[in-house]
């Protein structure tokens, strides 16, 4: 324990004194979120979106006169509960149910919902059954923020551990440690702990800072979100250690880490939702720990999901961590040759 703590402490000092990297870790996510909030924060297209629950494969325009209204996009809603949730998040302006007696849902917090309701009643003055939902709009930035924080965790953990361990091996520091009683598992644990604590510290600081600046929603438990971030970080660190277990070239390790991070950055739903993308893309994305971490984080932040709702994601992250940590420890090599 004493040996592990000594290595842990030394690694912390090395990280915290590297001012450039530390500043980069703190400022990059803030700059990305704020920058993208400015770019994508403008008014949306002047189009009303109405989800329709209907019988049959396609929406039949003849089933209701409202469906002939111009400047309104009608699209098939998958399920009632999913559509109601989207309505409450302002991802659509109204939900129309034409499966039996016509009825509709409107979000009373949404100005566009008010207008589109007027249009509906114009075409059908008999009066349909009215259901209400409430809920604040989820802005793009609210959706993006967990993505950026998750991406930052991914880069920090994968490169922060992978790159550093390969550098230690290349310059002979690991070989020097090998000549001491330090065991591989102690060294690896110290690296995991050091990177985990520092990454969580940076993430919490960035999270709190952005909260003050952007006032994004936080429906669920902060402690649960912290658990998701912690397990996600450990999974990423484990993959970093696995990559770093044998390589002696920083360039090669960097290349492999890029091959791992880029697909995750593009396909894990950091920037946009994967809903609507090809089936195989969604399937591939599911094996990425970043996807699992972001799904869980967004569910907590935007929908107020509890432990039981995100249980599958947590299990996935734990299994990923256990698998890659074991492989990393088994394959770990001190020497460069």
């Amino acid at each position: 324990m004493r040996r592990m703590l000594a290595v842990w402490h030394a690694r912390n000092l090395e990280f915290l004194r590297d001012k450039g990297t530390l500043a980069w870790n703190l400022l990059l996510p803030i700059a990305l979120v704020v920058g993208l909030a400015i770019i994508f924060g403008g008014p949306e297209r002047p189009l009303f979106k109405v989800g329709v629950l209907h019988a049959g494969g396609e929406i039949d325009q003849s089933t209701h006169p409202f469906l002939a209204t111009h400047y309104v996009e009608f699209f098939s809603a998958r399920s009632e509960s999913d559509a109601v949730r989207k309505l409450s998040r302002h991802q659509m302006d109204m939900l129309l149910d034409l499966r039996g007696t016509p009825r509709y849902w409107v979000n009373t917090d949404a100005p566009k919902g008010y207008i589109v309701e007027k249009l509906l009643l114009e075409t059908d003055p008999r009066g349909l059954k009215r259901e209400e939902v409430t809920g604040k709009a989820v802005r793009y930035v609210d959706w993006l923020l967990p993505g950026i924080l998750g991406m930052n965790i991914m880069f920090s953990c994968l490169f922060g551990v992978g790159w550093v361990v390969v550098r230690y091996r290349k310059n002979g520091f690991l070989k020097r440690l090998r000549a001491t009683p330090l065991r591989a598992i102690e060294f690896i644990s110290a690296q995991v702990l050091s990177r985990l604590i520092l990454t969580m510290l940076v993430t919490v600081i960035v999270f709190v800072g952005l909260r003050l600046m952007l006032d994004f929603p936080m429906e669920g438990s902060g402690a649960l979100l912290l658990l998701v971030a912690t397990l996600g970080s450990i999974a990423m660190i484990s993959i970093g250690l696995f990559v770093a277990a044998r390589f002696t070239s920083e360039e090669l390790a960097g290349g492999v880490l890029n091959v791992l991070t880029w697909p995750m950055m593009l396909l894990s739903g950091v920037w946009f939702s994967l809903e609507g993308s090809a089936e195989w893309v969604q399937w591939v994305a599911k094996i990425f720990p970043l996807t699992q971490m972001l799904d869980a984080a967004r569910a907590i932040m935007l929908d107020g999901a509890g432990f039981t709702d995100i249980y599958p994601q947590l299990v996935f992250l734990v299994i990923t961590s256990a698998l890659f940590l074991s492989l990393g420890a088994a394959l770990f090599r001190w020497r460069a040759d």
Partner: protein, 294 residues
């Protein structure tokens, strides 16, 4: 009573290359044991097998009569030819880190004094000169108050002054009953520090013993050196054995007076003539037919 450390028939193959080819020796407590040989002779591989850093292809290392294991790691201090430490750490922090890795510790302040690091303790380890860096590496090798200290070419790349200072340091450490195992390709260093040397070439030990004993065993002559430009005679026509005819004409002789008389009679100026005893470099040449630093 078993030897403190014993190498038994160590072999190390790297593919088809035999880096170490059946090396055996014992090290008694309290001595400085030197592995001397040119670059590529297998010295570093041999000590790294002994340190437990490199696994041997075959053979065994015994520490106090038992296979070297966890206890040996606690008792050994190691200084590699080249080691990088963590970035941004001061000299003291590096020492603290390694100090914490051992169950047994010694007074760090004393090590800092011994290795003359007092003025450098708060300096970033990357900002040390070559000599200072080696003193820090020696200090790190001493943090566990080791029974056996391995020094692998510790003065390679140092200027003569720094090298001489380092030798004094090693002697001071040795005076505290430490056993030192040193590899070097400087015969002067081996002669100055070692009680016993093993000369290695092509992965094998070709001679072993105290430097004086080895020289006495192989040589009964001295060398007379005459600068080339002072020497107008034909070296091949000399009645004495001429070892080398490069910058200096090196004449091997057991009878200095007779040789000098011959040179004077042949009108060779003797103002710049130098007489020196045989050294380990000559021994290496004698044993292998090649120069140590070739």
């Amino acid at each position: 009573m078993p030897a403190l450390l014993e190498a038994r028939d160590l072999v190390k193959h790297y593919g088809a290359v035999k880096a170490v080819d059946g090396v055996s020796f014992t090290v008694e407590p309290g001595i400085c044991f030197g592995l001397l040989g040119p670059n590529g002779a297998g010295k570093t591989t041999t000590v790294e097998i002994m340190e437990g850093i490199t696994p041997a292809t075959s053979g065994q290392v015994l520490y106090q009569g038992e296979p070297a294991g966890a206890r040996f790691r606690e008792d050994a201090g190691v200084q590699f030819q080249k080691t990088a430490l963590q970035e941004f750490l001061t000299v003291r922090e590096c020492l603290n880190l390694f100090h914490s890795l051992y169950a047994r510790g010694t007074d760090l302040e004393e090590i800092i004094r011994t290795c003359a690091l007092e003025k450098l303790v708060d300096r970033d380890n990357r900002k040390l000169s070559g000599g200072q860096q080696q003193r820090l590496m020696l200090a790190i090798a001493l943090v566990n108050d080791p029974t056996v200290l391995f020094l692998d070419e510790p003065t390679t790349g140092l200027d003569p002054q720094a090298r001489r200072n380092f030798w004094d340091l090693v002697r001071a450490v040795k005076a505290r009953d430490k056993t030192v195992i040193l590899t070097t390709h400087y015969m002067e260093e081996a002669y100055f520090l070692c009680d016993v040397i093993a000369i290695m070439d092509h992965g094998r030990i070709i001679a072993q013993g105290s430097p004086e004993k080895l020289l006495k065993e192989h040589f009964d002559d001295v060398i007379i050196e005459v600068p080339r430009e002072d020497f107008a005679l034909d070296p091949a026509a000399m009645p004495f054995h001429v070892l080398s005819a490069k910058e200096h004409i090196e004449i091997s002789t057991a009878n200095v007076e007779a040789t000098l008389r011959y040179l004077m009679e042949a009108r060779v100026p003797i103002q710049r003539v130098r007489i020196r005893p045989r050294n380990l470099e000559d021994l290496f040449l004698e044993l292998t037919g090649k120069e140590l630093r070739a």
